[in-house]
């Protein structure tokens, strides 16, 4: 059933292409319906899955028998969480780009193609298939940014595409090496992830192949210091683009790290564990520190994504169940919260005020002009700080909990990152929405700004409510997702990875 998320989305792309060129309204509706259908299938399929700890096969047919490639889709709890996240992000992204007037149908066609690719990655259990879907996402995201973006869009798009390609090449080299060695030990060619995870690669081999594959994926997860594509890409992208980039595309990288690099090379991970954790904490602290001094509102959110993805990588590096649980939950949580933050900044504020510069925004007193945007940003900011009650808290709590065991000193450093996170969020709230302006100056400006900003539209409100709701529900009832994630890391599939972890 879950496979239909992919099919429906690509059917949506086809339908969009057949629509007449100038009918923007129809394009929006088709896109929304497609995303809704995909999201519904994702939810229904996830709920149907009775045993989330096990890899449940969806479809498996021969694809290229000579190299052992199958068209093999399957899902376990981790896939379920991320598929549901993709569904939510897809729907809300469309709601937040309801106002796209320029070549609407192409925009949504690229958008849905990206979503389809993402669903594909999360459901593939064949290495080659996973890689194909992974590559497939690069093209739509390049065009989304280069055509519909803003502020140095060609630069941002090109940088993102180049970083992605470098990453995929590293992955590809590692993949081929693993395939060759596995063929030797299995006696037949195989690209099946479950099968490959049982192969014992020699320690020397893992020692150098693991970092290649891990780094290849981690670039897309925004691992410091290979993160520089992220802020520029996020800023250049159109709102829906940044929501998807931060919300799900960065998760592709983290998912690849876990599902491919760590699953296949458990001994390699253990050797590089400390280095990964150090880089992750570097990202947490550096991202937060840089976000603290930005002048551009969207750059703040861009760097905050780097910081939050650091928690995912830190959780992965712990190699104990609680840290890994936290990492997966953080992927979901960050997807929701970053999507919301980009929605507020890109759509609600920038599309109306046409500026993201804090100096200009301070003069406008946006909090008074757009009260809904102000409140939404405050809630999103609070969630992003990791205040309890929201999903971010439960996730970061588990990551830190797991990290305490392995890297106590780094954990304390990560704590500093959290405090700086609070500081930059507060700064953004103050500068962006509730500036301290002397009453007279505010009055002056109110007269100068006689044409009021267009009020927040219904699709934006619905999108914001969905995302806030999702974060709150998971924050208050983490069990909803934990019961999918938890059994995965105690299952035989991850046994080799977790057992050796302290």
């Amino acid at each position: 059933m879950l496979a239909w998320t992919i099919y429906i989305t690509f059917i949506g792309v086809l339908v969009l292409m057949l629509l007449p060129r100038d009918n923007a309204r129809a394009a929006r509706i088709v896109a929304l319906l497609t995303a809704l259908a995909g999201c519904a299938v994702a939810f229904a399929g996830a709920i149907q899955q009775t045993n989330p700890g096990q890899v449940t096969e969806i479809i498996r047919v021969d694809w290229i028998p000579i190299i052992g490639a199958h068209y093999y889709l399957a899902a376990d709890g981790i896939s379920l969480v991320l598929v549901v996240l993709t569904g939510l992000a897809a729907v809300t992204g469309i709601l937040f780009s309801w106002n796209i007037e320029k070549r609407t149908k192409e925009f949504f066609a690229f958008y849905l193609a990206l979503i389809g690719g993402v669903y594909g990655v999360f459901l593939s259990f064949d290495l080659l298939l996973l890689f194909v879907f992974y590559e497939l996402t690069i093209i739509p995201k390049y065009f989304l940014i280069a055509r519909w973006g803003s502020t140095r869009k060609e630069y941002g798009a090109m940088k993102l595409a180049l970083y992605s390609f470098v990453g995929s090449h590293l992955v590809l080299i590692g993949m081929i090496a693993a395939w060759v060695v596995a063929k030797g030990s299995l006696g037949h060619p195989s690209l099946d992830l479950v099968e490959l995870s049982q192969v014992h690669f020699s320690a020397g081999f893992q020692h150098w192949v693991f970092p290649l594959v891990f780094l290849g994926f981690a670039i897309l997860a925004g691992m410091w210091p290979f993160h520089t594509w992220a802020p520029t890409g996020h800023v250049a992208a159109p709102t829906a683009g940044s929501m998807l980039l931060a919300g799900v595309v960065m998760k592709l990288g983290a998912y690849g790290c876990l599902r491919v690099a760590m699953l296949l090379f458990p001994e390699g991970v253990r050797e590089w564990q400390g280095a990964i954790a150090a880089l992750a904490v570097g990202g947490i602290v550096y991202g937060a520190g840089v976000a603290l001094v930005q002048k551009d509102f969207k750059f703040v959110i861009g760097y905050s994504s780097v910081s939050h993805m650091g928690f995912v990588l830190l959780g992965l590096a712990t190699l104990n169940t609680i840290g890994l649980d936290g990492a997966v939950l953080q992927m979901f949580s960050h997807g929701i919260i970053a999507g919301l933050l980009f929605g507020v900044v890109g759509r609600m504020v920038y599309d109306r005020t046409h500026t993201r510069d804090f100096n200009d925004l301070e003069r406008m007193n946006v909090g008074k002009l757009l009260p809904f945007a102000g409140i939404t940003f405050v809630i999103a900011g609070v969630a992003s700080m990791g205040l309890p009650g929201f999903s971010g808290f439960v996730a970061e709590m588990q990551v830190l909990s797991g990290a305490w065991m392995v890297f106590p000193k780094l954990t304390i450093l990560a704590g500093i990152g959290i405090v700086v996170g609070v500081a930059y969020t507060l700064r953004a709230v103050q500068k962006g929405f509730y500036p301290d302006v002397p009453a007279a100056a505010a009055e002056d400006h109110a007269h100068a700004h006689d044409h009021p900003l267009e009020p927040i539209s219904m699709p934006e409100r619905i999108g914001a409510v969905i995302l806030i709701g999702a974060s709150l529900v998971v924050g208050l009832c983490p069990n909803l997702l934990m019961k999918w994630i938890e059994p995965c890391f105690t299952s035989p599939l991850f046994e080799r990875l977790v057992k050796g972890g302290i």
């Binding site: 588990q398 305490w404 106590p408 954990t411 704590g415 405090v419 609070v422 509730y434 069990n479």
Partner: protein, 511 residues
């Protein structure tokens, strides 16, 4: 099944939602809704007080449900004498603060909603017994407070609000990390369970075994200590407080000083003392020095202030310093076992009483300041007044009573608490008690200076037409003043309710 506490927490939360939903136009309804829900909470708290069994000393009205079983998180609410006392204090101060902010005209619906949510956060903090959801409420109280300062505060509200938030967050993150370490070692977030583990020594051995680091207990203790020390605050982590208290609108300051500052002391009593008595003993002398410094330095700092609100803010730090002194002294090891138990009990009894009394008196004082500001258009410098007792005799008399209560005049509530604290601390840590009396002396000096500069002397011509308290205002301050007398004369009213709890805490500390 009883859901007393859950209902009590949800009343202000829902009341806040309702108030926010009513919108800025229906001011009367908004105020009515805020007052109504806070009175409902007061009623509930009084009912609980009446149904509370003062002899058990254990947790009562408890509710326990599994929440996130995989992480050892439970929904666990309950109160003992300490928790109930704080719930009562919150229930009393909140309606007064709402009445004092009756004239807020700028977005009254948001203002009152935030006040009610702050109350919900406070009630939750005082009743939660599992770290996870205790922490939710601990942080939840922070956000309304931040916005109340940020949006309705005085001229330098922006920096004050940010400073308040960042300081508290630094403490909270340290606290969180400590508890994650504890959870990792023991698998439990339950305060009661952890206290039992600390008593039997399991906690220390588990921590060391898990982390393989002999000093981990002390590191974890410092993290938790920092969290509470910022909130109380302990000198030198106090610098956020004068700015926050003086910039916040006075009704909000009533809540900040009256109840929110008790969160820190409560944390010390509920969490730090029972779970880390060993670590406290290891660093007892520096901790006592910190308490003494808090008492003495803040008294001198108050003496140097020119702004009434800042002076009272420093005086708040001073008063809570006595609670710290009592708690640290109670954690010390003393020789004559039974005799020292009585001393410890006296000190802790005093600390609890002091918490309640300070909440009552300080909130009353800030209420008077807000009434004064209403008359002067926000002017509140020490030198802006003079001789106003001639024009506002009733105001002078009533505020005078509160000031004397604050400096610990026998017969009023402040005296009993401080007396018990000194009685208990003196045999346990004589030098600390002796130096701390300096704080009492200086407090008397600056409060009398305040009375002199503001109320006595030649009348400042500007205030000839200042109106005295109206009947409504007299009614508003009446409950606090009455309670000051009642508790001053009959402290047993509170001591009776908390005695068993204190004895239990003392037992917990002895091993």
């Amino acid at each position: 099944m009883n859901l007393w506490l859950t209902i009590l927490i949800f009343i202000p939360f829902l009341g806040g939602l309702l108030a926010a939903g009513l919108g800025a136009e229906r001011k009367k309804l908004v105020r009515g809704c805020a007052l109504g829900s806070s009175l409902l909470v007061l009623g509930g708290a009084v009912c609980m007080w009446l149904h509370f069994d003062p002899h058990s000393g254990g947790i009562q009205f408890d509710e326990k449900f599994a929440w996130v079983p995989t992480l050892g998180i439970q929904y666990y609410l309950g109160v003992d004498g300490l928790g109930l006392l704080m719930v009562m204090l919150t229930a009393i101060v909140t309606p007064l603060a709402i009445l004092a902010s009756w004239n807020v005209e700028d977005r009254p619906h948001v203002f009152h909603a935030l006040v009610l949510w702050l109350q919900a956060g406070l009630l939750g903090t005082f009743t939660a017994l599992n770290f996870f959801h205790w922490f939710i409420f601990w942080e939840l109280g922070l956000i309304p407070a931040f916005f109340l300062i940020k949006l309705w505060g005085g001229p330098r509200r922006g920096p004050a609000a940010t400073q308040f938030f960042i300081y508290t967050m630094v403490g909270s993150v340290a606290l969180l990390l400590s508890f994650l370490a504890i959870r990792q070692a023991t698998g439990s977030f339950d305060f009661i369970e952890l206290a039992a583990m600390a008593k039997s020594g399991v906690l220390a051995s588990k921590l060391t075994a898990t982390f393989g680091w002999p000093h981990i207990g002390l590191v974890v203790f410092f993290g938790a200590f920092l969290g509470f020390a910022v909130k109380v605050p302990v000198v030198p982590f106090h610098t956020w407080l004068p700015a926050a208290y003086s910039e916040a609108p006075s009704p909000v300051t009533m809540l900040l000083t009256g109840v929110m500052s008790k969160m820190g002391v409560y944390g010390f009593l509920r969490i730090l003392l029972p779970i880390f008595p060993e670590q406290i003993r290891q660093v007892l002398t520096p901790l006592l020095w910190l308490a003494v410094a808090t008492i003495v330095l803040s008294a001198f700092a108050a003496f140097a202030q020119k702004d009434i609100k800042r002076m009272l803010a420093y005086s708040s730090i001073n008063h809570l310093g006595y609670c710290l002194l009592a708690m640290f002294a109670a954690a010390s090891v003393a020789t004559g076992v039974t005799a020292s138990d009585l001393q410890k009990a006296a000190a802790l009894d005093g600390a609890l009483l002091q918490m309640f009394n300070h909440g009552l008196t300080a909130s009353a004082l800030f209420l008077f300041v807000s009434l004064l500001e209403k008359r002067t258009g926000g002017l509140r410098g020490l030198d802006d007044f003079g001789g106003i007792r001639k024009v506002v005799p009733v105001f002078t008399g009533l505020m005078g009573i509160s000031l004397f209560s604050s400096l610990g005049l026998p017969g009023l509530n402040g005296f009993v608490g401080e007396f018990l604290i000194f009685k208990g601390v003196f045999p346990l840590a004589p030098w600390a008690a002796v130096i701390s009396t300096l704080g009492i002396l200086v407090t008397a000096i600056f409060l009398l200076t305040l009375i002199q500069r503001v109320f006595c002397g030649p009348l400042n011509e500007r205030w000839v037409k200042m109106p005295d308290l109206t009947t409504a205002e007299r009614l508003l301050v009446f409950p606090s003043i009455a309670l000051m007398f009642v508790l001053g004369i009959w402290p047993q009213f509170i001591l009776g309710a908390v005695d068993a709890t204190v004895m239990k805490l003392v037992q917990q500390l002895n091993f």
